[in-house]
């Protein structure tokens, strides 16, 4: 048998993280009761160590017969995923403790979700995209359901699970059609097969439709968005924080690997599908968000609209557009973390404090956090000079460069509509009287990090050019 042991070196970060997830599981099992914060500290430490490993070994490589890709885009996304996860852990510690879900399993499942995202991000094969996605989703379903005594959480988990399973089925169906026409699961080979073959192939297009629909489901783009508000609202806020941020990066990687890495020569077809998804998402998300009274639900609709916006960059089908999208999604994840972090800050043992009204009069009670929230909301709305604006600008730029003027105009119009509900919160905080005394929750580390998180949106401005350049060079490597 001729078989060469594959080169494990590019995958060391993944292997290390998996081992650490196992270690957290076992240590928590045997020491859990005595060292309550052990899993917490260990998880953060192992994520930091993994980040260090990725930075230390940054390279462009393929291994495991082309199933595992290591490139700059993957490395950046992985680092971002892990940073976001660390922030999630820090933000949600007190919240979790209050609700008795500060358990070893929470950290193990979060780590395996991160592993799933890493697998997706560096997948060079449709099989791995699917497996990574399932690893991520399975961990998320159970993270949501972890709060057993809450009916809302169980309902959210059920909804997410059933629709997620449906989406996985659709994804597999699409992948099988692509497999039937190209005869391979390997994305590079699919790319080659389509370039030489007939890209007007109907079964191939049908496969593409299924794949795009499945990704639409996973991202929560209109018209496949119905689970998003319910799941965001029903999940424990600590989990919403997680599932609203990091997985979006993995989904971006999936889009890149699949649509650009594999089906790039069909861009004419997927461009049109994505235009529909993107514009409907932006429009619907922004308009419905206005009517919300629940903060988490409002942020869910805002997530839908942001997903639409980031799809705009992808659909321009140019490396610049992809880079703009990547930048957008990184910034968006960062802003989401802050926004949900604010809800966590207000929540306490007895109440979720996830109504918009809870923010009334924030300025008079806690001016610092009113400022934090203002920065977050203004950045989300895409108002200059905050980073959120630059992100939107980059995407619009890419659209204009690919001569999709009307799409750009519609997108800008709807984001103006969207600004309304973000600014309404600012108005509540500064001009309304508080309903009841606002108590802040969370530990010292959370307060610091949350403040940094928001301030970075304005203080980080000088480094924006650098970030965009990195995204550009990462995406230039890809295609």
């Amino acid at each position: 048998m001729e078989f060469q042991i594959p080169d494990f070196a590019p995958a060391y970060p993944e292997i290390f993280l998996l081992c650490m997830a196992g270690a957290v599981l076992l240590l928590d099992l045997f020491l859990g009761k005595r060292f309550r914060n052990l899993a917490y500290g260990l998880s953060i430490a192992s994520l930091l160590a993994t980040i260090a490993m990725i930075i230390g070994s940054s390279q462009q490589a393929t291994t495991f017969n082309g199933m595992f890709l290591r490139d700059l885009m993957g490395d950046i996304l992985k680092i971002a995923v892990m940073l976001f996860t660390i922030m999630v852990f820090i933000y949600s510690r007190i919240y979790q403790q209050d609700r008795h879900i500060f358990k070893g399993e929470y950290f193990v499942l979060a780590l395996t979700a991160v592993l799933g995202m890493m697998v997706m991000i560096s997948a060079g094969n449709m099989l791995l995209l699917y497996l990574g996605l399932e690893l991520l989703s399975l961990s998320l379903y159970s993270l949501i359901a972890m709060r057993r005594d809450s009916l809302h959480a169980t309902e959210a988990a059920m909804k997410y699970f059933i629709l997620g399973a449906l989406a996985s089925g659709i994804l597999l169906y699409g992948m099988s059609m692509i497999y039937v026409t190209t005869g391979t699961l390997d994305l590079a080979q699919i790319h080659a097969a389509i370039r030489t073959g007939d890209s007007a192939n109907l079964v191939l297009s049908l496969g593409l439709v299924f794949v795009v629909v499945a990704i639409g489901f996973k991202l929560g783009a209109v018209p496949f968005h119905m689970w998003v508000p319910d799941v965001y609202q029903g999940s424990p806020t600590s989990v919403t924080l997680f599932l609203g941020s990091a997985p979006k990066l993995a989904a971006f990687a999936m889009l890149m690997r699949l649509l650009v890495g594999g089906l790039e020569n069909m861009s004419g077809q997927w461009q049109q599908m994505l235009i529909i998804l993107a514009l409907f998402s932006i429009g619907f998300g922004n308009i419905v968000a206005i009517a919300q009274t629940n903060m988490k639900r409002m942020l869910a609709y805002s997530a839908i609209s942001h997903v639409g916006f980031f799809l705009l960059g992808v659909l321009s089908a140019t490396p610049d557009g992809y880079a703009a999208s990547m930048f957008y999604i990184l910034v968006y994840g960062f802003m989401t973390l802050g926004s949900f972090g604010m809800i966590l800050l207000l929540s306490n043992k007895d109440s979720e404090s996830d109504m918009i009204a809870n923010f009334k009069g924030m300025f008079s009670a806690h001016p610092l956090y009113a400022l934090v929230m203002t920065l977050l909301m203004v950045s989300m709305a895409g108002i200059p000079p905050l980073i959120g604006f630059n992100a939107k600008l980059a995407v619009i730029n890419a659209l204009v460069e690919s001569r999709l003027y009307w799409v750009a105009v519609v997108a800008v119009l709807f984001s103006v509509v969207g600004a309304f509900y973000y600014l309404r919160i600012v108005k509540f905080m500064y001009f309304d009287q508080p309903g009841e005394a606002i108590r802040l929750n969370g530990g010292m580390e959370m307060h610091t990090l949350l403040t940094i998180n928001a301030l970075a949106l304005i203080l980080g401005l000088p480094w924006i050019g650098w970030l965009i350049r990195i995204c550009n060079s990462a995406l230039a490597q890809l295609s």
């Binding site: 048998m1 193990v108 592993l115 690893l135 005869g183 007007a200 109907l202 079964v203």
Partner: protein, 202 residues
């Protein structure tokens, strides 16, 4: 028509009919049993394709384990069949239209000359001494070792998740600890009391 053709069509017929019955039959337990029949027929078709490892594993895993647990749950559910059927007529028009449309669309694509499906050459039929199991094993643990390991991580996560979601300590549950039970000695439970025999009253 060779013997294999006859077997193929017979088994396929069983597969299709039982598949149809899974969704039409009223009693959920019977539906589950028909699903088992589906799996068995599917396994038989795989045998015809000389994929004996897959066929037997399908039976072992799906029929022998997954469906047993399925049946467990279905049998213990108290399902009111009449209630379940209530919505059927109401949703029939919409559902029917969607189904028919989908079928038409699929037919249009598959019947079109532009499907791009090409007939591939028949795979080589191997002799009786060809071990499909060894072949799958050697591919699975070499070329596909990475997805294989990820799939195993997925299973571990499933176990962890299932245990995390179902195991909870309820104060009212009573349970025994076998090691402590075994370690007990008669002296812990039983006290020998020396009773003086009473003297018979005169």
């Amino acid at each position: 028509m060779t013997f294999e053709h006859i077997v193929f069509y017979a088994i396929s017929l069983i597969l299709l009919v039982s598949g149809l019955l899974v969704v039409t039959v009223k009693n959920p337990v019977k539906a589950a049993l028909f699903l088992i029949l589906c799996f068995v027929s599917g396994a038989a078709l795989w045998l015809l394709l000389e994929a004996e490892f897959l066929a037997l594993t399908l039976i072992l895993v799906y029929v022998g384990a997954v469906m047993v647990l399925f049946l467990f749950v279905v049998m213990m559910l108290d399902i009111n069949i009449a209630e379940m059927r209530e919505g059927f007529v109401r949703y029939l028009p919409v559902g029917g239209v969607v189904a028919v449309l989908m079928m038409l669309e699929m037919a249009m694509i598959l019947a079109s000359s532009k499907t791009g499906l090409v007939e591939r050459s028949h795979p080589v039929s191997h002799g009786a001494d060809y071990s499909n199991t060894a072949e799958i094993g050697s591919v699975l643990y070499t070329d596909y070792v990475y997805p294989f390991e990820i799939a195993s991580v997925l299973l571990v996560v499933a176990i962890v998740a299932a245990i995390a979601l179902t195991m909870r300590k309820r104060p009212q549950t009573k349970k025994q600890t076998p090691s402590r039970q075994i370690a007990t000695r008669a002296g812990d439970r039983l006290r020998m009391v020396d009773l003086k025999s009473e003297k018979k009253q005169p």
